[in-house]
């Protein structure tokens, strides 16, 4: 059982580094479907896991590539502290089922928006390392 949890952590971690996210989007579905937690319990546990700076190692990798705007990140962190409290207050009284569906819908919507943008984008700029040629 504990091994499974450790492995879920590792898989979620790979996505943290790959996508630059906190990992909650992976953790929450994994906790709900693999460990059979209720949606609220999964979300609360995920938030707790994200308190330590788990993305620090990943951040240092991005910094080597120069792909970090520290000022923007710090401003965002301030807003997130407040927003996180508001979101928590909204979610706790909601029904678990509604919350799960809202979460899934929200993820799919963000995905579609991003995909649209990625497909419209002009071809990669020169100077960016790419294997399939710029």
């Amino acid at each position: 059982m504990h091994i499974v949890v450790l492995l879920i952590g590792l898989c979620a971690g790979i996505l943290v580094g790959l996508l630059g996210i906190g990992g909650g989007v992976v953790l929450v579905p994994a906790l709900v479907h693999l460990l059979h937690m209720d949606q609220h319990m999964a979300q609360g546990t995920s938030l707790f896991v994200l308190l330590p700076p788990i993305g620090l190692g990943a951040l240092l990798e991005y910094r080597k590539k120069g792909a970090v705007d520290f000022q923007a990140g710090i401003y965002c962190a301030v807003g997130m502290l407040l927003g996180g409290y508001l979101g928590g207050r909204i979610a706790v009284p909601m029904s678990s089922r509604l919350l799960t569906q809202l979460f899934g819908g929200f993820l799919m919507l963000s995905a579609l928006l991003l995909w649209g943008k990625a497909s419209k984008q002009s071809p990669p700029q020169p100077g960016v390392s790419t294997r399939d040629g710029a």
Partner: protein, 123 residues
């Protein structure tokens, strides 16, 4: 100055999603950086990681914990894997070209969203 206010609001939006869905908030920040503030995908992802370093979810965790919605032991066990996996994932990301990176990001989000949304129908 105007830009800083934009970042603060991006953070606020990310925070609401973070507390509401129990996530880090990066999936909100990255589209905002990329689509509204015109950051290149890797920079959006790297900057999102900066915003996730401080314990920004602290107030949200307290709200959940008060209602008994935190499984502490599972949480502690998840942390080491996340940290190590994070480094590995970032090494992979550095090899991916920016446009492809955004498509990978979007595709994975969609799959995770579908898993969540449709998973509830079986129960």
């Amino acid at each position: 100055m105007k830009k800083s206010i934009g970042f603060l609001f991006a953070g606020l939006a990310g925070g609401v999603a973070s507390g509401l869905f129990g996530i880090g908030g990066g999936i909100v920040l990255i589209p905002i950086f990329g689509l509204l503030l015109a950051f290149e995908q890797h920079k959006a992802q790297g900057t999102s990681l900066v915003a996730l370093i401080p314990p920004t979810g602290l107030l949200a965790v307290l709200a959940y914990a008060k209602a008994g919605y935190v499984h502490w032991l599972t949480g502690v066990l998840l942390i080491p894997g996340l940290f190590l996996g994070g480094i590995l994932g970032a090494k992979i990301a550095r090899r991916i070209e920016p446009r492809r990176m955004r498509q990978v990001f979007a595709a994975l989000l969609f799959l995770l969203g579908a898993w969540q949304a449709f998973g509830t129908w079986r129960r």
